[in-house]
């Protein structure tokens, strides 16, 4: 929200009662530096909803539905590593296939697109039990820090109000099965711990400083991604 210069946005919750009358609750999320986590949720109102006529959904609309994975599906798990290489700090992601088949065309991205200046290489094929390393490249970043996400995360955390709490960025890995008939999505939280970073920077020696876990991955969820059309 900070990067998009959005102070507030509305959203709706849809539901129905036992007699199938549909309702819509309108709410908003607002930035508020005094609120826990920097965000406050407000109730705007409830209305009875008129059901719109069915619209035609085409492939170009990119409408997807998520389903549980099945045995034999590829399953990519993400890990993040904050390490040093030739004196330069590098943030590196690894994806590992713990599923029952090969994953194809795996592409990692950070959500929302406020982190759109970061590019990850696509992994063409990842066999069962294999791991691939993905090094992000920050477009327009300096030569010495173009693979280091920590300054960006620190900046985003600071812009969110800088509370002494973890800062979470959602990430998603999209990939396909061997025939490219089924799509998959691995969603996870990239958690930046500002306190660990502070401790790392004030560490008494370099070796001790490198042991702090500044970034970690949590809440991984793998789902099948099925495109919906009415054709």
């Amino acid at each position: 929200m900070v990067a998009q210069k959005v102070a507030q946005f509305d959203f709706e919750i849809n539901y129905k009662d036992a007699s199938t009358i549909r309702y819509r609750t309108l709410c908003s999320i607002e930035r508020d530096v005094l609120a826990p986590g920097g965000l406050v949720v407000r109730y705007l109102g409830q209305e009875v909803r008129t059901v719109p006529k069915p619209t035609k959904i085409t492939k170009e609309d990119n409408v997807f539905q998520f389903h549980p994975i099945e045995p034999g599906d590829p399953q990519l798990y993400v890990a993040v590593h904050d390490r040093w290489e030739n004196g330069l700090r590098v943030t590196e992601f690894s994806i590992e296939n713990h599923g029952g088949s090969v994953a194809h065309q795996a592409l990692l991205k950070l959500l929302p697109d406020t982190f759109g200046s970061i590019e990850f290489p696509t992994v063409d094929t990842l066999a069962m039990g294999r791991r691939a390393l993905l090094r992000p490249t920050i477009k327009g970043g300096s030569v010495f820090g173009k693979h280091n996400l920590i300054p960006l995360l620190s900046e985003a955390w600071d812009a969110s109000g800088g509370a002494k709490e973890d800062f979470v960025v959602l990430l998603e890995v999209l990939y396909w099965n061997v025939n490219q008939t089924n799509g998959y999505s691995t969603m996870a939280c990239l958690v930046y711990d500002p306190l660990q970073e502070e401790l790392r920077q004030s560490g008494s020696n370099d070796q001790q400083a490198k042991e702090y876990k500044v970034v970690r991955i949590e809440s991984t969820r793998i789902q099948r991604r099925v495109q919906i059309t009415t054709d």
Binding site: F11, G37, V41
Partner: protein, 78 residues
Amino acid sequence: MLPHETEIRPLANRPMIVAVRYGSRPSDNRCGLFIVNDWDIAYDVSIGNVPFGTSKLVFHNADIPRLSKADGEQLCET
């Protein structure tokens, strides 16, 4: 009940789902939007994705078949 009868339906007999906070759940550190149902039982609860700017807020686990007052806070991860 027919749609034209909704106007006279007592409020307390309707479902009323509201979002109460956005944050993380201490028990498992999952984060997202917390919703509750204050009144009657609701079915087929869903929250649509929200585009803003060039970004999109995606609610996961936001298709809930049934939500009653007794269920308490329900987390929709984002």
